[in-house]
């Protein structure tokens, strides 16, 4: 049962507003985001419910929903929200909060993919798609996924065999170091 108390009821919506600049309390629960959501037909949750969880300070439900991770960031919800809430941005903030608060991401492999992606930027300065695909498959324990596509892709030389490295890699590493990357900084202070 959801128990509400006056002291905490606005906690989550306030935190989300601090981090994203979007006031989810403005949501009128019309469901337009859910009707057009790219991934909702394959999910158990719909985006408007996530907004409701925020409104009612249901932190665990909001942060541990798989919807938060599966969101494809197509911004269709953002484009159509009659209250002008950037729902896709709120989803990103929830992902960060999920990690910062120590919850396990519901769709772990999506988080793993994101990490691999970012690690690759850190390493090369650019993203190297073949390596990304292979690494992701290894991490996700599905080494042969998409293997059937490889010969044709390689034959057309669509994906390079070797990564392109940027010259000023030191600068990139510097950004990662100085920028207090990932979610660590969020624990200290949030800024948009």
């Amino acid at each position: 049962m959801l128990e509400l108390d006056a002291e905490h009821v606005h906690n989550l919506s306030k935190r989300v507003k601090e981090l994203s600049g979007d006031d989810v309390t403005h949501c009128i629960q019309c469901g337009k985001c859910s009707g057009g959501c790219t991934v909702a037909p394959d999910m158990e949750e719909i985006p408007s419910r996530i907004m409701r969880f925020i409104q009612l300070n249901m932190k665990e439900r909001a942060l541990t929903s798989s919807m938060v991770w599966t969101c494809s960031s197509c911004l269709t919800c953002t484009a159509r929200c009659p209250e002008g809430i950037d729902i896709a941005k709120v989803m990103n903030v929830l992902r960060m909060m999920c990690l910062a608060e120590g919850y396990t991401p519901k769709e772990k492999h999506i988080h793993v993919f994101n990490r691999l992606f970012i690690d690759m930027i850190k390493k090369y300065g650019r993203v190297y798609e073949l390596g990304l695909m292979v690494q992701n498959n290894m991490m996700a324990m599905t080494p042969f996924r998409d293997i059937g596509l490889l010969p044709a892709i390689l034959k057309k030389r669509k994906i390079g065999l070797l990564p392109h490295k940027v010259k000023a890699l030191g600068e990139v590493k510097e950004l990662f170091k100085k920028g207090q990357t990932f979610y660590k900084r969020m624990k200290v202070e949030g800024w948009k």
């Binding site: 019309c30 469901g31 859910s34 057009g36 959501c37 909702a40 719909i46 408007s48």
Partner: protein, 464 residues
């Protein structure tokens, strides 16, 4: 309408518009432009021969573009007066110089192409503004087709369609291919409750007329299945909630709590993508027809008219009353009343109530021999007035006029118009204007009083 047109104390001026209003309560000078109808009202018998013979066809405004009318036409079949008008922009004779078929078929000889616009100015004691509303333009909703999908229509278009005298003869068909519509989706709040693309307010009447239409569809065409996407059901009138329940329970209308996100038109059935937030699911419905409940909005020229009449309006363009609870039909200009949907979305009972109230207010006004006014009126000290007339510019009620007293230009307050707001008093540089009971002297005295009291008290303590 017909009854009022026969009433001895009522003169209906159709195809006319008010272009200027001067004066004040009991003495309004109203200038009216009477547009040329091109039909002599005293001769026309209303036989309707011209309406069927005219060769120029134009999309019908009354049928919301679903049907056509002729260039000589009556707005709708029961229009009052029962006299047609020639639409000169589309008439073949007026545009190309040839045709005149209507003149040939008119046995009464009522067609007069030479008629010209006339302007008349008359005195009126009071004015009631009841100019109604317009519908929100659905072209802003690209996700619903923005007006380009033929089978996505508005509630008003459906209303015309199910009228036995309407463009489809009362048949429920898809405008795209004329096939009967079986699955109908109603979408609520199109343009209303939308701060980004439309209006923040609730359009108030859509919940009820949608339920009525869904019931009518099932009644007339038992094979139809209606779905209503709603955000909240606003059914606060007498027997309204019961009516909604009847639609759901007796007529099998499926209510889905959510807003439609997009409509696809792949060619045959429309695909409606929405959500039901109660089930927590996204929903797809294949529909023959989609009906959008487009919001009631102020008329496009509402602001211009308000400025001419000196009526304040809100950020949307709806006319403002003096007090929303206690003086809902009075405007700030005495003798000028407002009624109906020009003030805010209203359904028929509310509009009738407001119209009746405004009429009663006028009767009360006229029944008295004298006009009672509030005592707090502006007053000019003629000896101090230098005739700069800054006060004339700042008066929101046009209550100050230029006057001459023994050869000097001075301001004069029209007591019936003044509302005692004090704008003039604070603007007047020579201190000639004051509001009775609120003179500068009196207000200064009030401000000073507490400080003087303090001094006395302090002195009292000092003495102790």
């Amino acid at each position: 309408m017909t009854e009022s047109s026969h009433h001895e104390n009522i003169e209906l001026l159709t195809y006319s518009e008010v272009i200027d209003v001067k004066g004040f309560v009991g003495n309004f000078d109203v200038t009216i432009r009477m547009r040329p109808r091109s039909v002599d009202m005293s001769r026309c018998t209303g036989c309707g021969d011209c309406l069927t013979k005219c060769p120029a066809k134009v999309p019908s405004e009354a049928d919301q573009g679903l049907g056509t009318r002729r260039a000589i036409y009556k707005p709708f079949s029961n229009a009052v007066p029962n006299v047609p008008v020639i639409d000169r922009d589309h008439c073949i004779y007026f545009t190309k110089g040839k045709c005149q078929i209507c003149q040939k078929v008119c046995k009464a000889g009522a067609i007069n192409y030479e008629q010209e616009e006339t302007i008349r100015t008359e005195k009126f004691g009071a004015i009631i503004v009841a100019t109604g509303f317009s519908l929100f333009d659905i072209s802003k909703y690209g996700e619903y087709g923005g007006g380009r999908y033929k089978d996505v229509i508005t509630g008003l278009q459906l209303e015309r369609m199910i009228d036995p005298n309407g463009p489809t003869g009362g048949r429920l068909v898809r405008p795209s291919d004329g096939k009967p519509a079986k699955s109908v989706v109603f979408v609520q709040c199109v343009g209303s409750r939308d701060e980004v693309k439309g209006m923040a307010y609730c359009s108030k009447v859509c919940c009820m007329y949608t339920a009525k239409q869904a019931i009518l569809l099932k009644d007339h065409f038992p094979e139809t299945q209606s779905y209503v996407f709603y955000i909240d059901i606003r059914a606060t009138g007498k027997n309204y909630e019961e009516f909604i329940l009847r639609a759901q329970r007796e007529y099998g209308v499926v209510y889905l709590r959510g807003r439609v996100s997009k409509i696809h038109d792949p060619g045959d059935k429309l695909e409606v993508y929405g959500a039901d937030t109660l089930a927590g699911e996204s929903v797809k419905i294949n529909a023959d027809l989609v009906v959008l409940a487009s919001a009631m909005v102020p008329n496009p020229d509402a602001r211009d008219l308000a400025r001419m009449l000196n009526i304040p309006y809100d950020s949307y363009g709806f006319y403002s009353e003096i007090h929303p609870k206690l003086q809902p039909v009075e405007s700030i200009t005495r003798g000028m009343f407002i009624a109906g949907a020009c003030t805010f979305p209203k359904d028929i009972p509310d509009s009738v109530m407001m119209g009746s109230a405004a009429a009663a207010k006028v009767c009360t006004l006229f029944a008295a021999d004298e006009l009672t006014v509030e005592p707090k009126l502006a007053e000019v000290a003629v000896d101090k007035c230098v005739g700069c007339f800054n006060c004339v510019d700042v008066c929101p009620y046009d209550a100050i006029q230029k006057d001459t007293v023994s050869g000097r230009n001075v301001a004069r307050v029209i007591q019936t118009l003044c509302q005692g707001c004090g704008n003039c008093a604070s603007t007047c540089r020579s201190g000639a204007l004051d509001v009775k009971g609120f003179t500068d002297k009196a207000i200064y005295a009030q401000i000073s009083a507490p400080f003087e009291a303090d001094e006395e008290e302090e002195n009292a303590y000092a003495g102790a």
